[in-house]
Symmetry: C2
Subunit: 173 residues, 2 copies
DNA sequence: CGACACATGTAACACGTTACATGATTTG
DNA sequence: CAAATCATGTAACGTGTTACATGTGTCG
C-alpha cells in the first residue's frame, strides 16, 4: 500500500504526470526507498482502474496529467486519519529467521546473530554518514533517514538481547 | 520470502505435511504473525515447483509429507549465512506516510503524529502484557515478541523526534 | 554524432492473502 | 447427532518489482 498511497498523496499536492511523480517521490525520500519508474506507471494504471485518480488532460507538453478523484481524496484522508496498525505490517524476516533458526540443526545461531550484528552496525554507520550529508531543511528526507536509524538501533539492541537469552539458556543446561 | 524460507527451515528440522507446518509455525511465533493455512499449501506448491521441496510419500495416515531437496537445503543455508539487508526490507509505510504528509495541504501532521503515538503506545502495552504471559522456556516466541517490542519502542522514539523537528521548524518560521 | 536525461508504457513474474469447497475424524 | 478440529487444496486477486521496448529532446 505504501507506493499506492504515497503517490496518491503526492497527487493531492498537485496533479502530475508519471515521470514527475517519480522525481518527486525520490526527492521526498532521498534514495531511502528507491522506486522503479516502471512501478509508477503500473501503480498509476491500477489507481485509475480503481477510480482513485483520473486522467486530467495534458499539460501542453503532451504529458498525461493525473489528478485525484473525490474517492481518491477520501481514501487519502482516511489513510492519514488512521494509525498504521502493527497487523498491517509485513512479517519481519529477521525475527522469523532467528525464531526458526533456534531449532534447525546444523545452524549456529550465534553465528547468524554475529553476522547480522556486523551488517546492522555497518548499516547504522552508513545511515549516520548519509544523514550528516543531508541538508537540514530537507525535513521529509531527514525523517525517512531517522526512521531507518532508529530501526537499525532497535535491531542492534534486539540482537544483543537475543544473545543474552541464548547465554542464559546455555547456563541453564 | 519470510513464509517461504520459514517453512523451508521447519522442513529441515523434520519432513512434515501441510497442516503440521501450519501448527509448528504458529507454535514458534505464537500468534505474532498469523499465517493463513491456505498460504501454507500455496507456498508449498510453489516450493515444489521451484524444486526446493519434494513430495516424500505419505506418513501412513495418508498425509502428504514434504521434504527438503538438496537445492532446498542449499538455499536455506544460504539464507542463514547471509544477513538480512536493509534493502531487502519492505518500504516502511509509516515513514512514507509522514514524509509525504509534510507537504500535503489540509493534513495536520501533528495530529497524524498524535494518533500514531497513541496507537503505538497502546501496542507497546499490549505486547508487554503478552510477553508476561509467555512461558520463559518458549525462546522462539519470546524473541519474536521482543522484536516487536523493540520496534514499537523505536517507533515511539522516532515519533518524538519527528515532533521535535516540526517544532524547530515552526520556531524558525 | 553519441551519450544522457526525459518520458511512457507493458508483459511477466514473485509473494502474500483470502474466500471457498470438500471431506474425515473426534468429542461433548 | 452436532460442533469442532483435522486436513487438503484451488481460484482469484492485490501489490511489488523488473526487464524490456520505444521514442523524444538536448548538449558536449
Amino acid at each position: 500500500m505504501s507506493v499506492k498511497l504515497g503517490l496518491l498523496a503526492l497527487l493531492d499536492e498537485q496533479p502530475m504526470y508519471g515521470y514527475q511523480l517519480h522525481t518527486t517521490f525520490k526527492e521526498r525520500t532521498g534514495d531511502t526507498w528507491p522506486l522503479n519508474i516502471g512501478q509508477v506507471y503500473t501503480t498509476l494504471a491500477r489507481l485509475e482502474r480503481d477510480g482513485l485518480v483520473e486522467a486530467a488532460g495534458d499539460d501542453g507538453d503532451g504529458h498525461q496529467i493525473y489528478a485525484l478523484t473525490d474517492t481518491g481524496r477520501a481514501e487519502l484522508s482516511q489513510w492519514f486519519a488512521t494509525p498504521v496498525a502493527r497487523s498491517d505490517r509485513p512479517r519481519d524476516e529477521l525475527a522469523i529467521k532467528l525464531s526458526v533458526a533456534l531449532t534447525v540443526s546444523g545452524v549456529d545461531v550465534r553465528e547468524v546473530l554475529q553476522t547480522q550484528r556486523t551488517a546492522t552496525l555497518r548499516d547504522l554507520q552508513d545511515l549516520t554518514r548519509q544523514k550528516a550529508a543531508v541538508d537540514e531543511g530537507d525535513l521529509a528526507w531527514l525523517l525517512a533517514l531517522d526512521s531507518l536509524i532508529f530501526q537499525a538501533e532497535a535491531e542492534a539492541r534486539w540482537l544483543d538481547s537475543c544473545e543474552e537469552r541464548l547465554l542464559k539458556k546455555e547456563v541453564r543446561r
